[in-house]
């Protein structure tokens, strides 16, 4: 059946190439999604950690001790990573441990916070106030990022679904119904032009959707697959409806 389906698209080598490339690229698109999920979970837990550190430092404990205590209290990957790093860092300096922790999280938010904490320790700055301010700053920032994600995710998906799936099927329905190839209509060139258009429109839709959510580069991995899907849907539906 699969070979039969592929045979249908023999006249469109671009679609077949894109389908193969798309499947390979989709495998590359999954790791950024998982990484993003992990990074956002760390970043969302960061304000809580900073607030806890501020309270503990305010109670008169040292920053190193406060971090050790918080690493045991904070749930999720942030606490786990912090605990791991602090336990591994017995043989090195505390500054080195902070840098290692920041690098392991692969989050620019955490890296910036750690640089600031290091600088504050070096300069003997009032840590409790700084940590509390940072906690509030990053809480607000993460709230904004989460709001953007929640509000725009639905709209981004709507664009991709309509342009990449709805539109090709709709036009294929019109073409297949009113100008079926089985009745002798010469629509090969027409179909080629429209399938290319749907491929390009699909790429634009995915790009816009990715940019809206602030993850254009991640969306690029999925682009060939969506282009192939859109072109395949149109050509397949025309054949199915028009014969």
């Amino acid at each position: 059946m699969i070979f039969g389906l592929l045979e249908t698209f023999n006249g469109n080598p671009l679609l077949l190439y894109l389908a193969v490339i798309g499947m390979a690229c989709a495998a590359g698109g999954i790791p950024p999604m998982l990484e993003r999920k992990r990074r956002r979970s760390i970043e969302n837990a960061l304000p809580g950690l900073l607030e806890g550190l501020s309270d503990t430092v305010g109670a008169g404990r040292g920053i190193q001790e406060a971090m050790m205590e918080q690493s045991r209290n904070v749930q999720g990957p942030l606490g786990k990573l912090l605990l791991e790093t602090l336990e591994e860092s017995h043989s090195s300096s505390f500054e080195a441990a902070l840098s290692a922790f920041a690098a392991k999280t692969r989050s620019s938010q955490v890296q910036r916070v750690m640089v600031l904490i290091e600088t504050a320790i070096e300069q003997d700055a009032p840590l409790q106030q700084i940590l509390s301010d940072l906690a509030m700053d990053y809480e607000r920032l993460n709230d904004l990022m989460n709001t953007r994600e929640e509000e725009l995710l639905g709209r981004g998906l709507l664009i991709v679904m309509f342009v990449s799936i709805g539109l090709p099927v709709l036009i294929a329905f019109i073409v297949g119904l009113f100008a079926p190839a089985s009745s002798g209509f010469q629509i090969d060139s027409f179909n080629r032009t429209f399938s290319l258009f749907f491929g390009a429109a699909s790429a634009v839709a995915l790009g816009v959707s990715g940019r809206m959510l602030g993850r254009f580069r991640d969306a690029l991995w999925w682009m060939p697959l969506w282009i192939a899907l859109s072109m395949g849907l149109y050509l397949g539906a025309v054949v199915m409806i028009g014969g």
């Binding site: 600088t119 700055a125 904004l144 342009v163 036009i171 100008a179 209509f185 629509i187 429209f194």
Partner: protein
């Protein structure tokens, strides 16, 4: 692109300068810390400024800051440079000003994100309107000669299939360009989170 980079980094730069300077670090040392990296285009600006100051090719910190003011594209960055310039030339209370600027910029960022979400609310509808109406009309135009057959000649005279194809192709390209232009809003209005 530069403007977007500046907008994305400026609040972090202000917070870092605030921490550094309120704990007693001097302005030059604070600029050096920012210039050592981590703050995108602002780090690059500060780093090249410090290099020129160290080489002695610059006319002084005040002139360098004034030079950067011309280069800055975002309002927030310009305001920060202006505050630093005032501190160098008039010895103003930079820490207090930085704090106020930080609060103000954060409010602005929140407003910008809300506005971005609101403005993008219309993008799917507009994109779908153009992306769907255009191809539907062009599909009908492309099929008209075959659908009407000889009857088409009786109505509109001789129809050149080549011309119809050109019209459809051109129309589809215009539709794509229109979709891209509408989609560009998502990029140009980005608040830079």
């Amino acid at each position: 692109m530069r403007k977007l980079d500046e907008q994305r980094e400026i609040l972090y730069v202000i917070r870092t300068l605030d921490v550094l300077m309120s704990s007693g670090v001097g302005l030059e040392a604070a600029i050096h810390t920012i210039g050592s990296g981590g703050y995108g285009v602002i780090s690059e600006d500060f780093s090249s400024m410090m290099k020129r100051l160290r080489k002695g090719t610059a006319g002084g910190l005040d002139r360098e800051l004034k030079g950067l003011l011309k280069k800055a594209e975002s309002e927030g960055y310009r305001r920060l440079l202006n505050t630093m310039y005032s501190n160098v030339t008039q010895n103003t209370d930079i820490v207090e000003t930085l704090r106020k600027q930080g609060v103000r910029m954060e409010n602005e960022r929140t407003e910008a994100v809300k506005k971005y979400i609101e403005e993008l609310g219309a993008v799917p509808e507009t994109l779908l309107s153009i992306g769907m109406i255009g191809p539907i009309i062009l599909a009908i135009v492309g099929l008209v000669p075959q659908l009407l057959g000889d009857g088409a000649e009786a109505i509109v005279g001789a129809i050149d299939q080549g011309m119809i194809n050109s019209v459809v192709n051109g129309g589809l390209v215009f539709t794509l360009i229109g979709m891209m232009l509408i989609g560009m809003k998502a990029h140009t209005k980005d608040p830079g989170l």
